[in-house]
């Protein structure tokens, strides 16, 4: 009888329920994960990503499961540092896991990391080396029609103006965070998940979870976030403006476009080559008409596989001891400000173009410059049609929308060039 009680006691001690009593924040994070799952499953907020992120968050906060080990990634970042100079927590972690470093200098390789880490640590390698965001961009490129942008190159100006959100939020964030973290927070204003993850994984990986969650949540909330600002900054007369039909774009132009953009932008900002190169390669697969199989793979099978890996591993970085703090709340607030500033930037420039062209451009398409393809363009269409039911702005808004993707990638390249190690 005593033995049975001992066994039961041991089962209880090693169970997640007992381990959860050590720190109440684990339970809070499980509740947060379930709430995000609710948003994804019931409210359908970006379900393709949010469900994976929320589940990754759930897995990483299950005590004792050991799915993700942020201390290993801290050590990876600390490569080249003397063990004695590490924090007491990390030194204890090294002793607990029996990690031995020659000459007392941290030198953790991916091989050791795979052996010591959990499943989500292995998946996270793709985030750390910037693989997943680039592959996602390839799929995005294969799904994107740059025709409206080629038909109306002025759209690029609206895409550029909307990047005010990135730099506005960056500026505000510098009051509270170091420059590298502020740059990662600013990129939320690009309304472009893969770009935000790509830049944050390089500049401030410890903030990856709140930044990714803020970026994807606000992208899903664009139909709620943007319309009030759009109505505030435009008159009814402006919103009613009907735009001329776009000119047709030839196949040759569509094929040459990704090649020219890649050469030009990557020469200007080489640091952005992984993202923009993959975006344009995917688009070339689509437009060439000769690589339908590759285009299909990039936009379906590959995209789906990478989305699973990306979402769960990003969610996994939201461990209770690193996520539940005031900084996360601050990031969420700054992220919202970034989206609003981006919308304002696009709209104000739209107003300028409305004046300059003598009322030929509807300023509402400026708000689509925030990226978030194609959600932001749909919002422009919806608000425009509310003002004038015969207004069809969708194709016109797609120009600034895809220009915003290029613009945010350029902004990310600029920030990486400035604050990257």
């Amino acid at each position: 009888m005593e033995n049975i009680l001992q066994i039961l006691g041991r089962v209880w001690e090693t169970s997640g329920f007992a381990l959860m009593l050590d720190d109440w924040r684990q339970l809070v994070m499980i509740i947060v994960a379930c709430f995000l799952l609710y948003l994804g499953l019931v409210k359908k907020f970006e379900p393709l990503l949010l469900i994976g992120i929320a589940f990754g968050m759930l897995l990483t906060n299950l005590p004792g499961a050991g799915m993700y080990t942020p201390e290993l990634w801290d050590l990876y970042i600390a490569n080249g540092t003397e063990v004695a100079a590490l924090s007491p927590e990390l030194q204890a972690f090294i002793a607990e896991h029996g990690l031995i470093f020659a000459d007392g200098v941290v030198n953790l390789t991916f091989t050791e990391l795979i052996h010591a880490g959990g499943l989500l640590d292995i998946l996270y390698i793709g985030v750390k080396i910037g693989l997943y965001p680039s592959l996602i961009f390839m799929g995005v490129g294969a799904m994107t029609d740059f025709g409206p942008l080629i038909a109306n190159p002025k759209s690029l100006l609206l895409g550029a103006a909307a990047q005010l959100g990135i730099f506005g939020a960056f500026f505000a964030a510098t009051f509270f965070f170091p420059a590298n973290v502020a740059a990662s927070i600013g990129i939320i204003g690009g309304a472009d998940g893969p770009t935000a993850i790509w830049l944050t994984s390089k500049l401030a990986p410890e903030y990856l979870a709140p930044i990714a969650i803020a970026a994807y949540s606000y992208m899903a909330l664009i139909p709620l976030i943007q319309p009030p600002v759009m109505k505030l900054l435009t008159t009814k007369e402006m919103r009613e403006t009907k735009m001329e039909q776009l000119r047709p774009v030839s196949k040759t132009q569509k094929i040459l476009f990704p090649i020219i953009v890649t050469i030009f932008v990557c020469l200007l900002l080489p640091s952005v080559a992984p993202l923009l190169g993959c975006l344009m390669l995917g688009n070339l697969f689509k437009e060439s008409g000769l690589t339908d199989r590759l285009s299909d793979t990039a936009q379906n099978a590959l995209m789906n596989i990478v989305t699973i890996f990306l979402a769960t591993s990003v969610g996994a970085t939201a461990r209770y001891d690193r996520f539940l703090n005031l900084q996360t709340i601050l990031i969420v607030v700054l992220g919202l400000a970034a989206f609003e500033i981006a919308t304002i930037g696009g709209l104000l420039f739209g107003r300028i173009m409305y004046r300059v062209t003598g009322g030929k451009i509807n300023p509402l398409i400026g708000s689509a410059g925030v990226s978030a393809v194609p959600m932001a363009a749909r919002v422009s269409q919806k608000v425009g049609q509310e003002a004038n039911p015969s207004n069809f702005l969708l194709m016109h808004a797609m120009g600034p929308n895809v220009a915003g993707v290029i613009g945010s990638a350029v902004a990310a390249g600029f920030l990486l060039a400035l604050f990257g190690q």
């Binding site: 690029l156 550029a160 009051f175 030839s250 040459l256 476009f257 200007l268 900002l269 902004a411 400035l418």
Partner: protein, 105 residues
């Protein structure tokens, strides 16, 4: 390390400038691309326009002899005529087809 107010402001303005600079140059590139490809496209139809004049329409065999087929295979023409007759509910010999031309997009 946190940045000074002035430094952060300069970086922000510089960032916007770089984005505008890159996208304006890209806009110019697209305009050049469009101008070059459109000019080539305009030149092509001039050369191509001379060719159709020389091409005589093919007369379909087995008909009254006056239906002209432009870029259309006689088998396809027969099928088109059969479909039209069936849709109209009239026998083929009561219908008169003048010409059939393939529409190119």
């Amino acid at each position: 390390m946190k940045m000074a107010f002035g430094e952060a402001l300069i970086y922000s303005l510089l960032g916007m400038l770089v984005v505008f600079f890159a996208l304006i140059l890209l806009m110019i590139c697209i305009k050049i691309l469009v101008a070059v490809t459109d000019r080539k496209k305009k030149e092509e139809p001039v050369a191509a326009a001379a060719e159709p004049a020389a091409a005589e329409p093919v007369l379909a065999t087995g008909t009254a002899g006056d239906i002209k087929l432009y870029n259309t295979d006689p088998r396809d023409a027969a099928m088109v005529m059969a479909i039209v007759a069936d849709t109209l509910g009239k026998p083929l010999n009561e219908l008169r087809f003048i010409s059939i031309k393939e529409v190119e997009e």
